[in-house]
C-alpha cells in the first residue's frame, strides 16, 4: 500500500488515536482501581484498629488481661482471615501478636516493628520476607500509665491479583482491539474510497482526443458524488474551450487562404507582366517572399489543427518503422551529401508499429530535415530505430550546435525559435517540430530532445509497438 495514500494515512491515524485513547483509559482505570482498593482496605484496617483501641480502653480490659486477646481472636480471627494484629507497649513489650495465617503468606513475628514518629493514628506498608505486601493501620492510646501502639494489617494480595488481572486483560485486549480496528478501517476506507479509484481510472482515460467522455456519476448524495459532478463540469468547460480553439485555428487557417491567394497572385502577376523599376521589383519580390512565408505558416497551422482534431489520421496500418525510416533517409540522403554530412543509419532491426504511413513518414522527414539543416558541413547525422521493452524508439542525432538548455523544453512549442538569427536564415515556419510532436501524440507516443555533449543534440521518438499477433 502506498504510504502517501489517503487510505493508508486514514488507517494509521485512526489506529494511532485509538491506541493512545486505549492506553490512557487503561492507565487511568488501573491507577484509579489501585488507589480506591487500597483506600478501602486502609479504611477497614483503621476501623478495626479503632475498635481494638476501644477494647483496650474498656473497663473489661482493666479487669481481665486476657479480655483483649480473646476478643480480638473472637471478632477478627486473624489467623483464618490472613490478618495481622499487634499490640505493643510504649517500652516495646509485646502485648498481643496474632498467630500465623492459614495460608502462611507471612509470619507475624517477623514483621518489622513500627519505626516512625508516634502519631495518634496512621498507616504504613511493609513487605514481609515472604514478599507479601501488608498494609498496616496504626493507632496510639494512653491507658492508665501505659502507652499502647495498636497495629492492624491486611495483605494487599487480593488487590494486587485483581490489578494484575486487569493489566493482563488490557495488554492482551489492546492488540486484538487494534487489529479489529485496522481491519475494519481498511474495509471501511476502501469502501469509502472505491468511487475515488473508479473516478481516477475514468479520468486517466480522458485525454485531449477523448474530451467528450465524462466521469461516472454515483447514485449517492455524498461528497464524492458531488466531486464527480464538479469535475465533469470542469471537463465540459475544458472540452468546450478546446473545441473552440481547434475550430478557431481551423477557421482562421481557412479564412486566411483566400486573401493570401489574392496577394500572391497579384504580386506574381505584377512581377511577371511588365518591366519594372529595379527598386519596385525588389520591393515586390520581397513582399512575395513574405507572402510565401505566411503561406507556409498557415499551411503548418492547418496541418497541426488537423492533427489535433484527429482528422489527419485516416489510416491505421501495421508497418515496419525501421524500413519506413530507411526508405525516407534514402530519399533524402542527397540533402546530406551536398553538405558532406555523413548520414548514418541503424535500421536493421524490424520494429513493427501501427499508424498512418504518410504522417509517420512526414515525422521522419521533418526530423531529418531539421538535423541536416543545423549540422555544419562535414558533420554527422545518425538515424536509429530499435525496440526497447514494449516501445519503438526512433532517434535522430546530429553534430550541430545543439540547443541551449533554456530553449530545450520549448523546442516543440509552436513558433518557438531556439535561435532567432539562425532560424531566419534557414527560413522555416517554426512549426516542423510541433508537427512532429502532434504526429507522435496522435499515435500515442512522445518526443523528447536532449543535448549530446560535446556537441549536437538528439531527438528521441517513443511509439507503442504493434500488438503481437
Amino acid at each position: 500500500m502506498n504510504s502517501q495514500s489517503i487510505h493508508f494515512r486514514l488507517i494509521v491515524w485512526y489506529a494511532g488515536v485509538l491506541l493512545v485513547v486505549l492506553i490512557g483509559f487503561g492507565a487511568f482505570t488501573y491507577t484509579t482501581l489501585r488507589f480506591f482498593s487500597k483506600q478501602v482496605l486502609q479504611e477497614t484496617m483503621d476501623h478495626r484498629a479503632q475498635k481494638i483501641v476501644e477494647l483496650l480502653a474498656s473497663d473489661a480490659a482493666a479487669q481481665d488481661p486476657d479480655y483483649v486477646p480473646r476478643e480480638i481472636v473472637k471478632r477478627y480471627d486473624p489467623a483464618a482471615n490472613d490478618r495481622f494484629v499487634r499490640i505493643t507497649r510504649g517500652d516495646g513489650g509485646l502485648v498481643f501478636l496474632s498467630s500465623a495465617p492459614a495460608n502462611h503468606s507471612f509470619i507475624p513475628r517477623e514483621v518489622g516493628a513500627f519505626r516512625g514518629t508516634p502519631a495518634p493514628s496512621g498507616a504504613y506498608q511493609v513487605t514481609t520476607p515472604e514478599k507479601t505486601q501488608l498494609l498496616i493501620a496504626t493507632q496510639r492510646i494512653h491507658v492508665g500509665s501505659e502507652d499502647y501502639l495498636v497495629e492492624v494489617g491486611g495483605t494487599l494480595a487480593a488487590t494486587e491479583q485483581v490489578l494484575h488481572g486487569l493489566l493482563m486483560t488490557l495488554l492482551l485486549g489492546l492488540p486484538v482491539i487494534l487489529g479489529v480496528v485496522i481491519a475494519g478501517g481498511y474495509v471501511l476506507t476502501k469502501r469509502a474510497l472505491q468511487p475515488v479509484q473508479t473516478m481516477m481510472r475514468a479520468a486517466q482515460e480522458i485525454t485531449l482526443s477523448h474530451l467528450g467522455r465524462r466521469l461516472p456519476t454515483l447514485q449517492s448524495d455524498d461528497e464524492i458524488a458531488h466531486l464527480a459532478v464538479v469535475l465533469n463540469q470542469m471537463i465540459a468547460r475544458l472540452d468546450e474551450s478546446f473545441q473552440n480553439t481547434q475550430r478557431f485555428t481551423s477557421d482562421a487557417s481557412h479564412e486566411l487562404r483566400t486573401p493570401l491567394t489574392i496577394m500572391r497572385g497579384e504580386l506574381e502577376a505584377l512581377l511577371l507582366g511588365r518591366s519594372l523599376e529595379p527598386d519596385l521589383r525588389d520591393a515586390l519580390g520581397s513582399l512575395l517572399e513574405e507572402v510565401e512565408r505566411l503561406v507556409r505558416i498557415v499551411e503548418g497551422l492547418f496541418a497541426l489543427s488537423r492533427l489535433d482534431t484527429g482528422e489527419a489520421q485516416t489510416e491505421r496500418v501495421r508497418l515496419d518503422l525501421a524500413k519506413l525510416a530507411e526508405t525516407t533517409a534514402d530519399q533524402m540522403c542527397l540533402l546530406a551529401e551536398v553538405k558532406h554530412i555523413d548520414l548514418i543509419r541503424e535500421t536493421s532491426q524490424r520494429v513493427e508499429i501501427e499508424g498512418d504511413r504518410a504522417r509517420l513518414k512526414q515525422l521522419v522527414v521533418n526530423l531529418l530535415d531539421n538535423a541536416i539543416k543545423y549540422t555544419p558541413e562535414n558533420g554527422r547525422v545518425a538515424l536509429a530505430v530499435r525496440s526497447e521493452n514494449s516501445t519503438a524508439l526512433l532517434e535522430v542525432s546530429d553534430t550541430g550546435p545543439g540547443v541551449s538548455e533554456v530553449a530545450l523544453p520549448h523546442v516543440f512549442e509552436r513558433f518557438y525559435r531556439a535561435d532567432e538569427v539562425r532560424s531566419r536564415e534557414i527560413g522555416g515556419a517554426g512549426l516542423g517540430l510541433s508537427i512532429v510532436q502532434s504526429i507522435c501524440a496522435a499515435h500515442g507516443g512522445s518526443v523528447t530532445a536532449a543535448n549530446t555533449p560535446p556537441r549536437g543534440c538528439r531527438f528521441t521518438i517513443e511509439l507503442p509497438l504493434a500488438p503481437r499477433n
Binding site: 481557412h254 487562404r257 483566400t258 500572391r264 502577376a269 507582366g273 504518410a358 530535415d369
Partner: protein
C-alpha cells in the same frame, strides 16, 4: 484554347483571368455553381477551373454534373481545404488535378498546360532526347553512347522529366510525383537532386538538356524553352 473559371471570390477570379489571358487563353468566368453549370453546358471548353466553395451549387456537385454531360474535359479544382478526404472525394467526382489555396499562379499554369497536353506523355520503353537515351525497362541511362550510373531517386527524377519532355514541371509536381506528400514544403530537395542529376547528365557534355524555369521549376528539352 478556351477555359471556364468558376470562382466566387472576385479578386481571385480577376488575377487568374488576367494571367491566363496573358498566356493567350480565352477565359470565361462564372461566379457561382449554377452559372458555371449553365456555361459549361452551353459552350465547348478545353478546360474547367472550379473552386469548391461555391454559392448555389457546390464545386463537387458541379464536377459531378459536368462529368455526366461531358466526360472528357480536364478539370482543375481550387480549394482552401486540403484534407485528404476532400481530395479523394473530388477525384472520385471526376477532378483531374487539385490545387490548394494559396497556390502560385505559375503552378496553376504549369498544371493547366500539363492537362491540356495530357495525351502526349511519352510512354515509350526507350525515351530519346538528343543524344540522351533512357531505357525504362532496364532502368539504364546512356548519353552519347556512355552509360551513366544514377541512384534510384535520380533515375526517378530523370524519367519523370523525360517522359514529360518539353513540358515545364513545377517543384511541387516533382515532389508529389518523385517523392510523396510527406516531402511537401521541402521543395529545396528538388533543387538538390536536379543539381546532382545535372552533374551527371549535363556537365560532362557541351549541350545542356535540363533547364531551369525561373520561379516555376524544371524542364528537360533539346532546345532551350523560354
Amino acid at each position: 484554347m478556351r477555359i471556364l473559371l468558376v470562382e466566387d471570390e472576385e479578386k481571385v477570379a480577376r488575377f487568374i483571368s488576367i494571367g491566363l489571358k496573358a498566356e493567350r487563353f480565352a477565359v470565361d468566368a462564372a461566379r457561382d455553381g449554377q452559372e458555371g453549370l449553365e456555361m459549361a453546358t452551353l459552350n465547348p471548353y478545353d478546360l474547367l477551373i472550379i473552386d469548391l466553395m461555391l454559392p448555389k451549387l457546390s464545386g463537387t456537385e458541379l464536377i459531378r454534373r459536368v462529368r455526366r454531360q461531358n466526360s472528357g474535359v480536364p478539370i482543375v479544382v481550387l480549394t482552401a481545404r486540403d484534407a485528404l478526404a476532400d481530395k479523394v472525394a473530388n477525384f472520385e467526382a471526376g477532378a483531374d488535378d487539385y490545387l490548394t489555396k494559396p497556390f502560385a499562379f505559375a503552378e496553376l499554369l504549369v498544371r493547366i498546360k500539363a492537362l491540356l497536353r495530357r495525351g502526349a506523355v511519352n510512354r515509350a520503353n526507350v525515351i530519346q532526347i538528343a543524344d540522351l537515351e533512357i531505357d525504362r525497362l532496364a532502368h539504364q541511362v546512356r548519353r552519347d553512347g556512355t552509360a551513366i550510373k544514377l541512384t534510384a531517386k535520380e533515375y526517378a527524377l530523370l524519367e519523370y522529366l523525360a517522359s514529360n519532355a518539353g513540358r515545364v514541371l513545377s517543384r511541387t509536381m516533382i515532389v508529389e510525383h518523385v517523392w510523396d506528400q510527406s516531402f511537401e514544403g521541402l521543395t529545396n530537395i528538388v533543387d538538390v537532386y536536379v543539381r546532382q542529376l545535372r552533374a551527371k547528365i549535363d556537365e560532362p557534355f557541351p549541350k545542356k538538356l535540363i533547364h531551369t524555369v525561373r520561379s516555376v521549376g524544371y524542364v528537360i528539352n533539346e532546345d532551350v524553352v523560354e
